[in-house]
C-alpha cells in the first residue's frame, strides 16, 4: 500500500499544473507549526493521504519527498533529493542543476534541512528597476484612490510626528496646534495695503535737477482761510486774469484783490449748502460757482451780482472749466454737463464717461480737448463737444484730481493720482500714450504748468504737504516748497505766471514766488499783454 501511496504522491508532485497546496508546506507554515501554532494547511498531509488512493499510479522515475511531514515517503533514510515542487522552485533547480543530474532513487543524500529551502537569487534581480516599474505602472493606471488617500494622510501623520519630535527634542508633545478648518476669506482682489504710503513717503527717489534760478523756500504771503473745506474733490480756489483771487470758505465766496489787497465777500449760501467749485472765465469778469445742491451760478464780480443760475445736476458740482462761452461742469454722480451760457437752454451736452465723482476737469488752452479725471481712477479725453471720449486712460490707481494742460506744447497733459496711486503721468493726448510717469510718494492734489519755464508744480498731501517743482521732460525735481501743515488741496498760478498760490487743509493760503522772471523777460511779457475784452460783457449784459 505504501508503494501505491508513494506513486500517487509522486505523480501529484510531477504534475506541473497541479495545485500549489499539494506541495510541501511553506517554510513560514512550518515554522509556525513548530512553535505550536495552528495554521491553515495543517491538514495538508491528511488530505494527501486520503486522496492518494484515488490517484492512478504512474510510472515512477524520480523519488520525491512530497512533504516534510510525510513520514511515509520512501527513501526517508537516504533522505530524498531536493524537492521538485512545480514552478516555484525553479531558481533553485537552476542553481543546483549543474551539480546534481536528474534525481533518481539513488540520488546522493542531501542535507535534510535543505530540502524545502527557497533561496532566491537576488544578484540577478534588479530590485530598483522593478520597484520603479511597479510604481510607474500604478501611477499610470491612476492607482487606487483610497490607497492614495491613505498614503497622503500617512505622509501628513509622519510629517506631524517628525515636526513635533523635532520641536520637542524627541519628547512626546504636550500640546497640539489646532486651527479651524474653514479659513477666513481672503481680502478682495486688487486690495492694496494702504500703509504703503506711510512707508514710502520719506524716500527720495527722484533725481534733483540743476537750477541756476533762485527759488525762495518761504512763501511770499500767507493768508488765513478759516473754514476752508478739507475735501480732496473740491476746487475752492481760482485766480483770474484781472488779478482777483476767489476763495470759497465753507458756504461763502471771497474775492481777494491781489493788486491792492482788498477783500470783498461775494456771496453766501444758506446753511447746509456749501461751495464746491470756483472757476473764472478767461476774461476774468465772471466767476462760475458750483455748489452742493447741483446748481452752477455765474456772478458778475464788478457789480457783485448774480447773473445766471443753472441747474441740472442732481448732486454737487465739484469741478468747473470754461471754454470761451461753454462752461463744463462735473458732478458727484460722474456726469459732465456742457452749459452754453449765452442761450436760455443752457444744457447742451452730457458726457457720461465716469462712473464716480468727477474731480478734475480742464479744457485745453486751444479749446479743442477736454480732460476729465474721476474717482473711478480713470482719465477721459473728450474731443470738443463729442459725447464719447477719444481716449480713456486707466493707468492711475486712485482718484485723479490733478489735471493740467501744458500751455506751450499741444496735447500734453499732466495728471496726478490720489493716495493709493501717488504718481504723476504725462500723456500725449493725440495718441493716448503715457509719455512719462514718476512716483511722488504722496497724494497729488493739483498740478499747474509754468508758462515761462519748462516746469510744472504739483501739490501734495501726506507726509510733507509740500509743493514740488518738476522739470519737463526730465521729470527731475527742481525744488520742494514746504510750509503747509495740512495737505495741499489746490494750486493756482497768478496771471503774470510768476506766483503760485496754494490752499491747504491747514486753512492757510500761501503764495510762492517760484517762477520769478528776469526783468528783461518780464518787460517783454508785459508789452505783449493786450487788454482782454470780455466776450460775456458783450453777450450777457
Amino acid at each position: 500500500m505504501s508503494h501505491l501511496q508513494f506513486d500517487a504522491k509522486l505523480s501529484e508532485a510531477l504534475r506541473m499544473d497541479g495545485e500549489l497546496t499539494r506541495g510541501p508546506i511553506p517554510r513560514w507554515q512550518r515554522k509556525a507549526m513548530e512553535q505550536g501554532m495552528q495554521t491553515l494547511s495543517i491538514s495538508n498531509e491528511n488530505s494527501f493521504a486520503n486522496k492518494s488512493g484515488q490517484n492512478t499510479p504512474r510510472s515512477v522515475k524520480t523519488p520525491h519527498s512530497g512533504s516534510f511531514l510525510d513520514n511515509k515517503s520512501p527513501g526517508r533514510g537516504k533522505s530524498p533529493s531536493r524537492s521538485k515542487s512545480p514552478g516555484r522552485r525553479v531558481p533553485m533547480l537552476v542553481v543546483r542543476g549543474a551539480g546534481q543530474k536528474t534525481p533518481s532513487r539513488k540520488t546522493p543524500a542531501t542535507p535534510h534541512n535543505q530540502q524545502d529551502r527557497f533561496i532566491p537569487n537576488r544578484s540577478t534581480t534588479d530590485t530598483e528597476r522593478s520597484h520603479h516599474l511597479l510604481v510607474t505602472s500604478m501611477e499610470a493606471s491612476g492607482g487606487d484612490k483610497s490607497r492614495e488617500e491613505d498614503e497622503v494622510s500617512l505622509q501628513q501623520k509622519e510629517y506631524q510626528e517628525k515636526m513635533t519630535e523635532n520641536l520637542n527634542d524627541g519628547v512626546a508633545p504636550e500640546t497640539r496646534v489646532l486651527s479651524f478648518k474653514s479659513k477666513a476669506p481672503q481680502a478682495k482682489e486688487g486690495h492694496l495695503n494702504n500703509h504703503k504710503v506711510l512707508y514710502s513717503a520719506g524716500k527720495p527717489t527722484v533725481p534733483k535737477a540743476a537750477t541756476t534760478r533762485h527759488i525762495p523756500n518761504m512763501p511770499e504771503k500767507v493768508l488765513d482761510a478759516p473754514e476752508l473745506l478739507d475735501d480732496y474733490y473740491l476746487h475752492l480756489l481760482d485766480w483770474s486774469v484781472n488779478n482777483h483771487l476767489a476763495v470759497a470758505l465753507g458756504n461763502s465766496v471771497y474775492v481777494w484783490n491781489a493788486g491792492d489787497g482788498s477783500i470783498t465777500p461775494l456771496c453766501q449760501l444758506d446753511d447746509p449748502d456749501y461751495i464746491c467749485s470756483l472757476s473764472w472765465i478767461k476774461e476774468g469778469n465772471v466767476l462760475a460757482i458750483g455748489n452742493s445742491s447741483g446748481v452752477t451760478q455765474l456772478w458778475d464780480v464788478a457789480q457783485q451780482k448774480l447773473v445766471r443760475s443753472m441747474g441740472g445736476h442732481e448732486s454737487r458740482v465739484t469741478t468747473l472749466s470754461w471754454n470761451s462761452y461753454i462752461l463744463s461742469s462735473g458732478s458727484r454722480l460722474g456726469q459732465i454737463f456742457h452749459h452754453d451760457v449765452r442761450v436760455a437752454e443752457h444744457h447742451v451736452a452730457t458726457l457720461a464717461g465716469h462712473s464716480q465723482e468727477v474731480c478734475g476737469l480742464k479744457w485745453s488752452p486751444d479749446g479743442r480737448l477736454l480732460a476729465s479725471g474721476g474717482n473711478d481712477n480713470q482719465v477721459n479725453i473728450w474731443d470738443s463737444m463729442n459725447t464719447t471720449p477719444i481716449h480713456t486712460l486707466t493707468q492711475h490707481q486712485a482718484a485723479v484730481k490733478a489735471v493740467a494742460w501744458c500751455p506751450w506744447q499741444n496735447n500734453l497733459l499732466a495728471t496726478g493720482g490720489g493716495t493709493a496711486d501717488r504718481t504723476i503721468r504725462l500723456w500725449n493726448c493725440t495718441t493716448g500714450i503715457c509719455l512719462k510717469d514718476t512716483t511722488t510718494n504722496s497724494q497729488v492734489s493739483s498740478i499747474v504748468w509754468s508758462a515761462h519755464y519748462k516746469e510744472f508744480i504739483s501739490g501734495h498731501g501726506f507726509s510733507n504737504n509740500q509743493l514740488t517743482i518738476w522739470k519737463y521732460p526730465t521729470m527731475a525735481k527742481v525744488a520742494d516748497l514746504t510750509g503747509h501743515t495740512g495737505r495741499v488741496l489746490e494750486l493756482c498760478v497768478s496771471p503774470d505766471g510768476q506766483m503760485v498760490v496754494s490752499a491747504a487743509a491747514d486753512e492757510t493760503i500761501r503764495m510762492w514766488k517760484c517762477w520769478a522772471m528776469d526783468k528783461k523777460d518780464k518787460k517783454q511779457a508785459d508789452s505783449n499783454k493786450g487788454h482782454p475784452i470780455s466776450m460775456l460783457a458783450q453777450t450777457i449784459r
Binding site: V177, K183, A187, H191, N193, H195
Partner: protein, 208 residues
C-alpha cells in the same frame, strides 16, 4: 467716617474671565487685521470699546470665521485647555509666514479648570482689567511704526495651542506651528483678569 465707605466687591469667575479674554481677542484680532492692512479699511466699522474707538470688520466671511473660532476658544478657556493663541499672517502667493502675533494664556496661580467647581473667583476691578487690555490694543495700533510693510496680498490664520488631551472638535485640524525663519520678536504688554493672564508678543520676518 471711613468705615461707611461701601465696599465694592469685584468677583470674576472663570466663565466671566473666559468671556473677557475672548472678547479681548475679538478686538485685538480686528485691530491687527485693520492696522496691518490685511483687509481693506473700508470693510471696517467703528466701535467703542475699552474707552477707545476700535475698528471691527464688517466682512461677513471674516466675522463668521472669528465668531466660530472665538466661541470654541471660549469653551477651551473655560475648560482650561488652551495655552496659546497665535495669529499668523502669511503671503498668499508664497505661503511664507511674515508675522506671528502670539498671545500666551496662563492661569493665575490657584486657578485652573477645577476652580469652576470650587466656585473660586478672582478679585480685580473690571476697570483695571479693561485699562490693561486697552494698553495692549494701543500697542497693537502703535506697532505699525516698527513692523515692516506687508507689501503683498496677505491672509491670516488663527492657531490654538491646546493640551494634548483636549477634545478636538470636528471642524478643527492639526496645523503646523507657522514659525518664522529669521524673525525679530517684540514683547508687548500683558494683562490679567486675575483668573487668566495673557502675554502678547509679535514676531516678524526680518529681511536681511
Amino acid at each position: 467716617m471711613a468705615g461707611t465707605k461701601q465696599e465694592t466687591k469685584n468677583s470674576i469667575t472663570l466663565k466671566g474671565s473666559a468671556q473677557l479674554v475672548s472678547e479681548f481677542f475679538y478686538f485685538g484680532i480686528n485691530s491687527i487685521l485693520y492696522q496691518r492692512g490685511i483687509y481693506p479699511p473700508e470693510s471696517f466699522t467703528f466701535q467703542q470699546q475699552y474707552g477707545l474707538t476700535l475698528l471691527t470688520t464688517t466682512d461677513e466671511g471674516v466675522k463668521e470665521y472669528l465668531n466660530n473660532v472665538l466661541a470654541q476658544i471660549k469653551d477651551w478657556l473655560e475648560q482650561g485647555n488652551i495655552q496659546r493663541l497665535v495669529l499668523a499672517v502669511s503671503n498668499v502667493d508664497t505661503q511664507q509666514v511674515l508675522e506671528r502675533w502670539d498671545f500666551d494664556i496662563q492661569h493665575e496661580p490657584g486657578f485652573g479648570p477645577q476652580s469652576i467647581k470650587e466656585a473660586k473667583v478672582g478679585s480685580k476691578d473690571l476697570k483695571v482689567i479693561q485699562k490693561e487690555m486697552r494698553d495692549v490694543i494701543r500697542q497693537i495700533t502703535a506697532s505699525v511704526t516698527f513692523l515692516p510693510l506687508l507689501d503683498c496680498v496677505c491672509s491670516f490664520d488663527l492657531l490654538v495651542y491646546t493640551h494634548q488631551n483636549a477634545e478636538v472638535p470636528e471642524k478643527w485640524a492639526e496645523s503646523a506651528p507657522c514659525f518664522i525663519t529669521n524673525s525679530q520678536e517684540v514683547r508687548l504688554k500683558s494683562f490679567s483678569t486675575s483668573v487668566h493672564k495673557v502675554e502678547a508678543c509679535v514676531s516678524y520676518k526680518v529681511d536681511l
